[in-house]
């Protein structure tokens, strides 16, 4: 017993380390995608942006009124967006809901070329040259997508590329629920 007390000061630092490592390991496996965006349940931030394909036309948050909408944040520079793109094109072809794009920090020519070459899933694309609207929406990095209900309230957020699996298991059930709401 005496011996143990004698060695405690030398073993203690190791025990502290073990505890901290356990804590961090636990922290790593807390699912970050479960952390909800503070914007969920809030009305869409106000904006007024030009349309990518018709720059003299401006769109604002009223575009969400009356139907459930998917807002997809992307950019031609964004590697993961190229990966996500065919999935969106396919989703658009099913005509389940209108998809709006928010193209930020981008070269309009590069964005148009990408839509021409790989297909255009978007009903319209908001062009956010400075990236300020993306900041208002709390975008960490592209791609991110927001599901907005008939009254312009943000109801769900998808971080990272949308996959066919997310569409089937999360987006479509949520969409049906939102469409059933008054």
């Amino acid at each position: 017993m005496k011996k143990l007390a004698q060695y405690t000061p030398f073993i203690l630092p190791g025990l502290v380390l073990l505890f901290l490592i356990g804590l961090f390991a636990r922290g790593l496996f807390l699912d970050p995608s479960k952390v909800e965006s503070p914007l969920i349940g809030k009305p869409s931030p106000a904006f007024s942006l030009p349309e990518l394909k018709q720059p003299d036309k401006r769109l604002d948050q009223s575009l969400f009124q009356g139907h459930v909408t998917l807002l997809n944040v992307w950019g031609a520079w964004c590697v993961a967006c190229h990966e996500e793109h065919p999935v969106l094109v396919e989703l658009a072809a099913r005509k389940l809901l209108p998809i709006y794009g928010l193209d930020y920090h981008d070269d309009p020519q590069a964005a148009l070329t990408m839509l021409e070459k790989d297909g255009d899933p978007y009903t319209a694309v908001l062009f956010d040259a400075s990236g300020d609207v993306a900041i208002d929406w709390g975008v960490y990095g592209a791609p991110e997508s927001f599901l907005v209900d008939k009254h312009g309230v943000i109801r769900d957020k998808y971080i990272g590329p949308i996959t066919p699996e997310i569409i089937e298991t999360r987006l479509i059930p949520m969409l049906q629920q939102l469409q059933a709401e008054p």
Binding site: F10, I21, G27, L28, P32, V79, D106, D132
Partner: protein
């Protein structure tokens, strides 16, 4: 082609680091002179390959090679060339490469300046550094390769985060990393000493200049970060206690304790175990800082979503390095001989108290930083710990620490003489009491007590820092043969920095004035004895925004002092506020435009921040003190002695 060469260089560096670690550690264990002779060339070659890899990535940035995914994500053809270089460490992969590059620089320095050390000891030090390099190279190559190609190549890069397009922010990470990674040298020295079973004053003397150098870079890095957040993040704050800041502050606190405890080990042979433990702790906290900032466990929950392997890898690396070091410590430390004894009133006691206060302060910062994670991990809900917690726990720990700081240098080793110490310090003590009382009288009401304490401590520490240099000058004037070592001078300068820091913090936070008011063109506001007359707002075109610029003329008793032009910048969609800062050694003015009201009136925030510059001045003085102490002759003398020995 160049990116592939960079990738190849990294792989070669990985192999060479393995050789460096193997021949260094095993060679020392087998006492094999031939194996040990391989270590230094392997270390130098390893470091050169790492530098080559860094140069390859920098070249890809300079030439806008958007076929490299990392370049495409963090640069842009419109980015000015200096920022293309600093964009190298603008995100995860590149900062890791910077980490290893800085480690390579330290490795080169150790390889160069370790020739006078016993071969086995130098082999072990370089061996441990090789292991650290090995870990980080492996981390980069398996989870975060900066040379990954993007096919087809992007036509345009995504651009560097605008926040990082700033000179101070561009050099802040390398300085911070010089400090973080520098503690790996102190760590390597401690582990080498534990392995060899020889922890003695000589070990402390060898590792002191390295530790001091790492510490002074970290000091500079933190000072730069604080200054940047003051002028860039806005609203006049200079320290926010956010996890990223804390991640650099904890190793600094422990590193400061280490610098002091090394002094005891060198001079008196005491505190060996404690010093070794602090060296391990300082490097562990540096790794932890890298983990916290890079893994996103605390800050942005997003950065990790894509690849949890990174967090697991770096966490395992901390586990292996620190776990192995602490196991070694638990095994070897109890057998080490105790150093010389000392009486309750002695410099050893005061330095021990210094260490205890610093470690308690570091622990309370660690607790506050990790508490949110702790709560989350045990499902107790999400919360954040803010400045109120840190101010409440940090200030009470620092008060006794700062009082002792003034006394410590004037207490003798082993057994001090309280009467002699009191005699030396009496003038500083009287001045400090006077300063405290005068501040109490001049400022009554809320905060007076804190201001009194701040003034007292600042004068106390500052006065104490002047005693030794003044005594030296007096002796010289009397024509006596006398010396003032750079180590002592460095200590005095660093302590003077602490005094400036304390003064800056207390005066700014307690005497600073912040006024929000509505002003019409032509109106004058009087703040802290200065008149701020508002001339109105006019439009001003920027490169990619339209600004409304306000003009304020600042005067004091009719004499013009400055003209300040805060702006509201309207970008296509949002508006930003660019405050105007009028800097001065003794005070800053800070004006921000609020909202336009009717008839040309504006809401305006005017801040008067006295002595705010003393905060960063204090940091710079501490760094200067570190430079002086690290360049002390007694460390260089060994070098020249060793050089003649080898010649």
């Amino acid at each position: 082609m160049i990116p592939e060469l960079g990738h190849l260089a990294l792989i070669l560096a990985l192999g060479l680091a393995t050789a460096q670690a193997w021949f260094g550690l095993v060679g020392a264990q087998r006492r094999d002179g031939v194996w040990l002779a391989v270590v230094r060339p392997a270390a130098v070659a390893q470091a050169l390959f790492v530098l080559g890899a860094f140069a390859a990535l920098a070249y890809s940035f300079l030439t806008c090679d958007f076929s490299v995914a990392y370049v495409a994500e963090n640069s842009n053809v419109a980015l000015p060339w200096p920022y293309r270089i600093t964009a190298v460490w603008g995100a995860h992969e590149g900062s890791l490469l910077l980490w290893v590059t800085v480690l390579a620089l330290w490795t080169l320095a150790v390889a160069r300046f370790s020739r006078h050390l016993p071969q086995e000891f130098a082999g072990r030090v370089l061996g441990v550094m090789g292991l650290v390099t090995l870990g980080f190279c492996l981390f980069m190559l398996t989870t975060s390769d900066p040379f990954m190609r993007l096919l087809p190549a992007a036509e345009q890069g995504r651009d560097l985060n605008p926040i990082l397009q700033d000179p101070a922010m561009a050099i802040h990470p390398p300085m911070l990393y010089m400090g973080y990674v520098g503690f790996s040298v102190a760590f390597a020295f401690a582990v080498a000493a534990l392995l060899g079973g020889r922890m003695d004053p000589v070990w402390a003397r060898w590792s002191r200049p390295w530790t001091l150098t790492a510490w002074l870079f970290l000091t500079f890095g933190i000072t730069l970060g604080s200054w940047w957040s003051y002028y860039e993040l806005g609203w006049g704050g200079w320290w926010f206690w956010d996890p990223v800041e804390n991640a650099s502050f904890m190793p600094w606190l422990v590193g400061t304790a280490l610098v002091h405890s090394l002094a005891v080990t060198e001079k008196r042979g005491a505190f060996k175990n404690w010093t070794a433990l602090l060296a391990i702790a300082a490097f562990s906290l540096s790794l932890l800082g890298t983990f916290l900032v890079r893994s996103g466990v605390l800050i942005s929950v997003h950065s990790f979503a894509s690849d949890p392997r990174r967090g697991i890898f770096i966490l395992s690396m901390i586990g292996v390095f620190v776990g192995a070091a602490l196991t070694l410590y638990a095994w070897r430390a109890p057998t080490l001989a105790r150093g010389g004894g000392f009486e309750p009133f002695s410099r050893e006691t005061l330095l021990l108290l210094n260490n205890i206060f610093l470690v308690v302060a570091a622990s309370s910062v660690l607790l506050g930083t990790l508490y949110p994670l702790f709560m989350d991990a045990f499902g107790l809900g999400q919360l954040s710990v803010g400045p109120p917690y840190f101010d409440a726990v940090f200030v009470p720990v620092m008060l006794p620490f700062l009082i002792l700081l003034g006394i410590g240098p004037y207490v003798r080793w082993k057994h001090g003489d309280p009467a002699a110490t009191a005699r030396t310090l009496r003038i500083a003590g009287i001045a400090a009491l006077l300063a405290g009382v005068v501040s109490l009288i001049l400022m009554h009401g809320e905060g007076a007590l804190m201001l009194g304490a701040g003034a007292l401590l600042a004068v106390w520490i500052g006065g104490s820092a002047f005693i030794e240099p003044l005594a030296y000058l007096r002796r010289r004037r009397q024509g006596r043969h006398t010396t003032l070592s750079r180590a002592t001078l460095g200590m005095c300068v660093a302590h003077l920095g602490a005094a400036a820091l304390v003064l800056g913090i207390s005066v700014t936070s307690l005497l600073g004035i912040e006024q929000d008011r509505v002003m019409r063109p032509g109106e004058t506001a009087s703040v802290a004895g200065y008149d701020f007359s508002f001339e109105g707002v006019h439009p001003e075109a920027g490169p990619n925004y339209e600004a409304r610029q306000g003009i304020f003329r600042v005067s004091r008793r009719g004499r013009a002092v400055a003209e300040m032009r805060p702006e509201k910048r309207a970008f296509t969609t949002t508006e930003t506020t660019e405050a105007a800062i009028e800097p001065g050694l003794f005070r800053d003015f800070y004006i921000a435009l609020g909202n336009p009201l009717d008839q040309g009136a504006w809401s305006v925030r005017i801040q008067y921040k006295p002595l705010v510059r003393f905060i960063w001045l204090g940091g710079l003085l501490m760094m200067l003190g570190g430079i002086l102490a690290a360049s002390d002759r007694r460390y260089r003398a060994r070098e020249t002695a060793a050089a003649t020995e080898y010649a």
